[in-house]
């Protein structure tokens, strides 16, 4: 059998005892860590006062491992390792354009470094480790775990690789969270009743547009579209090309290219504030560049890049079957969305002003920190939107033989959604009656009946072949929706009930006490029901076997 380890008590933290939990944005170009302190999420600074940790690791010849700014711009520095997470050698396009030395490996691709061959998981673990260390230093205490964000399009292998990296870095993963969902959480969009939101994420080297649907406190990513080779760096590159054209200089040396790119980046950032900016530098060849770039010129030369992002937005909307004016809110993520013309283009496209109050570099980490804080069991006194914050009694369905199968356990925090698969008990069964019950007792007769409904149209199959997924979803207001869906045909039925309606605290306490008092009876009743069921199933199976092969 499986071996068990001792876990922390599942009860929420005692009052006045705060359990630190981190929100980590493990980004392609930059990574950040945030926590909720005094009820508000904030990004933690490193010892030099930076919030952004460049996602760069360098394994030096002397055995040292440099992370972040100290590793940047040096030979053998590994950047953008996120693109390799959970990827095989064959999955990675444009190997030639990649400055990394890749090695084919079992499953995941590996990297050649001065300290031997490393996996992307090991490299990411270094980045996570540096963030964890920063958090410990800033908080002066250890933390219970972290919520780490991943792009919505990450597949299972990429998500698993991210978890493995965290484990390697000694970080307990409370959960992985989709980046667009984290951005929405940072703005508290989950407090709205429901809505559809677009998250426009223009990072340093990647662009992602995600459309989220919020229903009853749960976010669902309904469409994502993006370009893994489009980001703020491309805007720098446009300025660099413009400099080359305007200054009519000879092909520059690598050192000059780097200098010019830096100047281009500085010019782009300056244009966020100013109408025009001066670019002046002298190259190694002695040639001087002295140009003035106006906002209008910059906007014009980057129109194409903007249109490319909007084409992705259109594609995502089309996937989601929505029009631009169906979107209830737009969130901007990524440093590149600071550019005024990006904001304007997005505002014009959706016909509404995007949310920009939070630092677009930090918004994902801040949202992750909020989620981590809740998962760690800290509740904010100001968050009165969680009036009914836990389920007072377990919710479940009736199974064959009158047994109550619990789907959402008592004390689960709201909002919550849980699903379980059921199957048919008889050959050719085409309908299933779903009886929703509440209570701790083992037999349905001793629980409280909440609702009944039927799922019809199950295709006739042998007993046990149908897959019926029953989803229980309880929103922040304690409203329960039960959805039953046959997986192969998609036929579905659902019902909505208010589970705690009409129950007073004393009644709930009585029901709990009864379940304790009747524990032994319940065990016997359950055993009897299970035995009876097994017997009946054996009879039915025998009968159908005889019918099939009797002669």
């Amino acid at each position: 059998m499986a071996l068990l380890q001792i876990a922390e008590p599942d009860a929420a933290a005692a009052p006045h005892q705060h359990r630190w939990a981190l929100g980590i944005d493990l980004g392609t170009t930059h990574s950040l860590v945030a926590v909720v302190r005094n009820g508000a999420p904030e990004c933690l600074l490193d010892e030099d006062g930076h919030t952004l940790l460049p996602s760069i690791v360098r394994y030096a010849d002397d055995g040292a491992v440099l992370i972040g700014r100290r590793a940047a711009g040096q030979t053998g520095a590994i950047a953008s390792v996120k693109r390799l997470m959970g990827r095989g050698y064959a999955d990675i396009p444009n190997l030639a354009s990649n400055t990394l030395e890749l090695v084919e490996g079992d499953g995941m691709v590996r990297l050649h470094t001065a300290q031997g061959v490393k996996t992307p998981v090991e490299v990411s673990a270094r980045i996570l480790g540096a963030l964890a260390e920063r958090a410990r230093a800033r908080l002066g205490e250890d933390f219970v775990g972290a919520v780490i964000t991943v792009p919505a399009y990450f597949d299972d292998a990429q998500r698993q690789a991210t978890k493995d990296a965290a484990r390697r870095a000694g970080i307990h993963v409370l959960r992985l969270l989709n980046e667009p969902t984290a951005a929405a959480l940072a703005y508290g969009l989950d407090r709205a009743a429901e809505g559809v939101f677009a998250i426009y994420d223009l990072g340093g080297g990647t662009f992602d547009l995600s459309i989220l649907r919020l229903s009853r406190g749960l976010f669902e990513v309904i469409a994502t579209h993006g370009d893994s080779a489009l980001g703020g760096d491309d805007f720098d590159h446009r300025i660099y090309c413009w400099m080359l054209e305007q200054a009519r200089i000879n092909p520059p040396s690598p050192a000059d290219i780097a200098r010019m790119m830096r100047a281009a980046r500085a010019a782009k950032e300056a244009l966020t504030q100013d109408e025009s900016t001066r670019i002046a530098l002298t190259l190694d060849s002695g040639e001087a560049i002295d140009l003035t770039l106006s906002r209008a010129t910059f906007f014009e030369m980057t129109t194409l890049l903007l249109e490319k992002t909007l084409a992705n937005v259109l594609a995502a909307l089309r996937d989601a079957n929505l029009a631009a004016n169906d979107i209830d809110g737009v969130v901007l993520v990524g440093g590149a969305t600071r550019m005024p013309h990006v904001r304007r283009a997005v505002a014009e496209f959706f016909g509404k002003e995007p949310l920009v109050d939070l630092d677009p570099d930090q918004v994902v980490a801040l949202g992750a920190a909020r989620q981590a804080n809740i998962l760690a069991g800290n509740r904010d006194a100001n968050e009165d939107w969680l009036l009914l914050d836990v389920i007072p009694l377990s919710l479940g369905v009736e199974m064959l033989g009158g047994l109550a199968e619990k789907i959402i356990p008592r004390n689960a925090t709201l909002p919550i959604a849980r699903a379980q698969e059921f199957t048919t008990a008889r050959d050719g069964q085409t309908a299933m009656s779903i009886h929703v019950v509440q209570g701790e007792r083992e037999m349905v007769a001793d629980c409280r009946s909440l609702a009944r409904f039927e799922l019809r149209g199950i295709p006739p199959m042998v007993a046990g072949a149908a897959r019926i997924r029953v989803t229980f979803q309880v929103d922040a207001d304690g409203l329960l929706t039960v959805l039953a869906r046959e997986e192969s045909t998609g036929v579905a039925a659902n019902i909505t009930v208010q589970p705690s309606y009409g129950l007073t605290d004393t009644e709930i306490a009585d029901m709990l006490r009864a379940s304790l008092a009747h524990a032994a009876d319940d065990r016997d009743a359950r055993a009897l029901a299970e035995a009876r069921l097994e017997g009946e199933q054996l009879l039915a199976a025998t009968a159908s076997a005889i019918a099939a092969d009797g002669d």
Partner: protein, 107 residues
């Protein structure tokens, strides 16, 4: 009604409690879930509740709530090494069947 632990398990519990720095013992429990009906749970205890029963064995305190006790009565908790893995194992005389993964059992 009684719950016992082996000496190996007791030693490991003591070590875990020392490392954690607080807690009076460990809680054994069952919850209805998993593929075979019930799953075990094993947690640190900071303070026992009203419905709890406390057992002492090899110097460690074992806390069980009344509801779980009917499924766990007579259980011996062992600490074993299996291959590269080590962890706690429930030797439960009430368990009649286990699912393949061993995460859950039925009585």
């Amino acid at each position: 009604m009684a719950i016992t632990v082996t000496e190996a398990a007791a030693r490991h519990i003591e070590k875990s409690l020392t490392r954690r720095g607080k807690g009076i013992g460990i809680r054994l429990g069952v919850q209805t879930s998993g593929c075979s009906g019930m799953a075990y749970k094993l947690e640190f205890v900071d303070a026992p509740g009203e419905e709890d029963q406390v057992f002492e064995c090899h110097g460690v305190r074992i806390v069980v709530d009344g509801k779980s006790l009917v499924y766990l009565d007579g259980t011996e908790l062992d600490f074993v090494r299996e291959g590269l893995n080590e962890g706690f194992k429930f030797n439960n005389p009430n368990a009649k069947a286990q699912c393949g993964c061993g995460e859950s059992f039925s009585v």
